[in-house]
Symmetry: C2
Subunit: 209 residues, 2 copies
């Protein structure tokens, strides 16, 4: 059975859980607490030398890292990844956009606020995430002006990847209310069959641990 | 004919040029000078709303952004992208590693040093790139201990993506001499048929412009 090493409150890990659920594929979840440095132990680094979650164990001792590479691997041959060459390329374009222009600002702002409890020494780093984070949301808003989903006319893993941290962007201090198209899209993603929500983040518990 | 919008000194753009050359595919190069804000003009943003290079124009007015999505698109069905499902997934894993854990430190350090001329106000940002940049190089060194290339036994687009900024990491102040395996791999990449070097960066010209 597939095994996922992850944290239930991490958007990158939630992507994998959401996809596997929508593909009706069973999996075993192994919790890895990054605040307790569980992704930096010698045992974990043996599995993923880059020390990050999520990590997919495809079969015993065969591992695949990087959330969006995992999404691509799991969705190939399903309706969630278009086989058309151009649409497939556009899905990958949005997956790279998410990891380069979106996640480093929107996810890490949330990490500073909700995992670390906004310590003063992170104030400048947090402030610096605002402009590029909003720039990513602006790009999304513009793209969704004429489309229901990110690629083609259908829900794909590009939507799963972008939904993961966009729908909790407010937890990192981003004001989402001004993004009308993004909000409509978030609602469409939530209405997909077999959608599961991300587990609520227990701020006080994480900040204390 | 394929059209590439890019900057000859950008590693992300060089990836595309190197791949197209090795695939013996002809293309037209349209120079975009990021220091002159040419990727932020209304005309360019019409093509790529995220305002980044490289950008591939597949056919008139059909664009594909994100360097690694472009590599994947262009190499599908060629020996540079394995068709085996697991090897293919591993290629994508390294492409995402490159954009998330490598490029933001190793490429941007080079940008601060060689494009911007290391202005004092960037000293702290530059210093903060050292540890994660070396961490990425450490991961690469470890992976190459038992392998000639990043995925399988052959040169793939994972090597092209990682070569682009690794081979000029010293231009951003990274000390590469301690990475014996990485150096051997750089040499193997350079020895591939139809390899073309990145154009030398004319520091003074860029810093002045």
């Amino acid at each position: 059975m597939l095994k996922v090493y992850g944290d239930h409150n991490s958007g990158n890990c939630y992507k994998v859980k959401l996809l596997l659920t929508q593909l009706a594929q069973s999996f075993q979840w192994v919790n890895v607490d990054i605040l307790k440095q569980e992704s930096r132990t010698p045992e974990y680094l043996e599995k993923n030398p880059n020390g990050k979650i999520p990590l997919l164990e495809i079969e015993p001792k065969v591992y695949l890292a990087e959330s969006n590479a995992i999404l691509h691997y799991l969705s190939e041959g399903t309706p969630l990844l278009p086989s058309d060459r151009l649409l497939h390329a556009q899905v990958l374009q949005w997956l790279f956009f998410e990891q380069y222009s979106h996640e480093p600002y929107i996810a890490t702002a949330r990490y500073i606020v909700r995992y670390l409890g906004s310590p003063p020494e992170y104030a400048k780093a947090l402030a610096e995430k605002r402009a590029p984070g909003y720039a990513a949301l602006d790009v999304m808003e513009g793209h969704l002006t004429s489309r229901p989903f990110f690629v083609g006319a259908r829900y794909t893993i590009a939507d799963i990847a972008l939904y993961a941290y966009t729908h909790v962007a407010h937890e990192g201090g981003f004001e989402l209310s001004r993004y009308k198209r993004v909000n409509g899209w978030l609602e469409r993603v939530r209405n997909q069959p077999d959608h599961v929500p991300m587990e609520p983040l227990l701020v006080s518990e994480r900040a204390k641990s």
